[in-house]
Symmetry: C2
Subunit: 391 residues, 2 copies
């Protein structure tokens, strides 16, 4: 197994995140931001637990314009939260449907209502409300003086730029996934049901050092796959299949997200050409991915190549995205996204194309944007589709 | 590996779910329910994908009071949705921040606004809003005639009662987890960092046939653990530890959720007593878990035993919960929950207690409520804490 980066972050990391947030809050005249989603609570506190898998309990972190964040959380999380840098931890015995943290939040936020302050909440693209809508409405109606502002763009800007320690974690899980893909010829076999190939991949990825493999998608079909989000069937792998695996594995709460294509024993010309086109589109994206370019221009750099085979654009809706604490993060490499790349953004390049008879092919790499050429975090795919033969 | 139940469900299963829902909608004078959360969309459509891991795209299913559900989803999901029993599938190229399905929803729901209809949405306990709040507000303000009603209790009632096919899936993953726990003495070893024990458990659980292990929590410490939601440290397992693993593994989209405690080589008297108390509390819960009993009374049946050692109640906040498509589902075995158990509910019994010096112990089993004694889905834990010795 690879040497692991240190888990967690030094105190300075959280202090810097808070400083950057408070600077933006000052610019935007915000008195605080109320957060309740897993990545954001973790980003500002270091609170890292799988317990979010249970939808039963809400968790809150309030980031004030001055001073440290305040946690308002179920009692069951108190010990873990006390191990973070957060001092002010307010808890209740949850679940408690009649008052799941609401009166604690009211006590905390009432002074802001009285002073007619502006508070931020995340309500924009790629967010959700991780608390009952009914409780949210009750909370807000009890704070009539608060002016609510969408803080999505502020948080998005903070989280898109990764620290050195964050990049280390993403790089580590990318290496683990790359090593797992290197074993493809050994863990997959002819006649293996696709579902068993998925199982073998997960086990190998854990063996190589992943903490978990929360996302694994793939497909396999004669001359090309047609769907990239279905669960695996029990159809056996067979000669002439194109096989694709796309994995979002994690280390210390950070994701990789890339895929690999394989031809089983042989490949038809059009699939070979599709692979080559995607590979060159990715190459164009790698060349283009420098500080200062917009995501829409980055999309176009890949689309210029893809259009050799497919000028419709695919149903994926974009050619890659941000990556980090979530499998997919802002920005999107798409015509609508004017985000300008900056140093230390971690992104995927994920061109896709549709070709003969409803087939789709996707290809994905992970990289960090830096001055000059980007640094690839995934081991670059072979320029020609690898043919795996089964003994 | 165990023989697997058939994946997916026969058409009749979805027809019955819809019939039951529409009967409740008729009783509650609802013209339709708009759903957007993974379990609910899957429950009514069979749409089963890990793609929900990406927060980028919203997915909608509208269940009308008559006729079949209508899917409003990103184009990338169209092929998979067409493989379900849903016929009316409306798609857009997502992500599209300016209009992520909103105008499609407006077209669909505008007639209900014009007719001043009552529509349901889930906004109660244990729910969240899986779309941007801003988009939700925009959608609803464009439907001024719609009277919105909280449909949480209706959906909760439907989903709490499991079908035979659902119970088969839960039983299967419970068997897999039970077999994994049986290997404890083989996969754990002295000096093994807890994080590596987690890895070994995940790999064994996959090897035994789990599709995935989305939730794995645990703890190990001298004479007892103090925290049950932290990620595993690299502290090596050692003589005198109490080791606990709690797993939410999945088969075909259904969860198990139970734990096991082990003493490493030896155990102190108070931990032995804590284990015995929890085991007997669970036994009391098993005896009590029959159709007609309320969850608060079920809680009390366990608390009567727990109070021998701990009359404060633990920070877990309840002594078990529902189980199925999510790791934790309604109801809660807690003083606030008046839900009455019915045949074919699948629940966990999960008493916990605090004992000397901040130590906590938890114990959990999974069962299906039926006429007469319940049927255990997990292989019952040993009545005395198992001592695992490392060679």
């Amino acid at each position: 197994m690879l040497d692991k980066p240190v888990r967690g972050f030094p105190l300075r990391e959280f202090e810097e995140r808070l400083e950057r947030a408070q600077k933006l809050m000052s610019t935007n005249d915000l008195a605080g931001i109320l957060l309740m989603s897993e990545p954001e609570v973790r980003y500002f506190s270091g609170f890292n637990t799988q317990f979010w898998q249970s939808p039963t309990r809400p968790w809150f972190l309030f980031v004030p314009a001055e001073k440290k964040p305040i946690a308002v959380i179920p009692e069951i999380g108190a010990i873990l939260m006390r191990s973070t840098w957060i001092d002010d931890i307010r808890t209740w015995s949850a679940p408690c449907p009649k008052d799941d943290g609401i009166s604690l939040l009211q006590d905390l936020l009432d002074p802001f209502s009285k002073s007619k302050a502006r508070l931020g909440i995340m309500k924009g693209h790629e967010t959700g409300l991780r608390m009952p809508l009914m409780d949210y409405e009750r909370l807000m109606s009890s704070l009539p003086g608060v002016e609510l502002v969408d803080a999505t763009n502020m948080i998005r800007h903070l989280r898109m730029i990764k620290s050195v320690a964050e990049i280390e974690k993403i790089e580590h899980i990318c290496k683990i996934a790359s090593q797992t893909f290197e074993k493809a010829g050994k863990i997959f076999y002819k006649g293996q049901p696709l579902a068993e190939a998925f199982r073998a991949f997960r086990i190998e990825c854990l063996t190589q050092g992943a903490d978990d493999v929360p996302y694994l998608a793939g497909g396999a079909d004669q001359g090309g796959y047609r769907d990239i989000i279905s669960p695996p069937s029990n159809r056996p792998l067979q000669s002439g299949d194109i096989l694709m695996f796309d994995t979002g594995a994690t280390f210390d709460g950070y994701f990789c997200d890339f895929d690999r294509n394989y031809a089983v024993e042989n490949v038809d010309d059009i699939s070979r050409r599709a692979y080559d086109t995607l590979w060159r589109a990715t190459e164009a994206g790698i060349s283009a991915a420098r500080p200062g370019i917009s995501c829409q221009d980055l999309f176009q750099s890949m689309q210029n190549v893809i259009s050799e085979m497919d000028d419709q654009g695919g149903e994926v809706g974009r050619y890659g995205h941000g990556l980090g604490m979530q499998l997919t993060e802002w920005p999107s490499h798409a015509t609508f996204d004017e985000t300008v790349l900056e140093e230390n953004m971690v992104i995927t390049l994920e061109p896709s194309l549709n070709y003969g008879e409803g087939r789709i092919m996707v290809h994905e790499e992970n990289l960090v944007v830096q001055n000059g050429a980007p640094r690839l975090l995934s081991v670059r795919a072979e320029p020609e589709i690898p043919i795996i033969g089964f003994s």
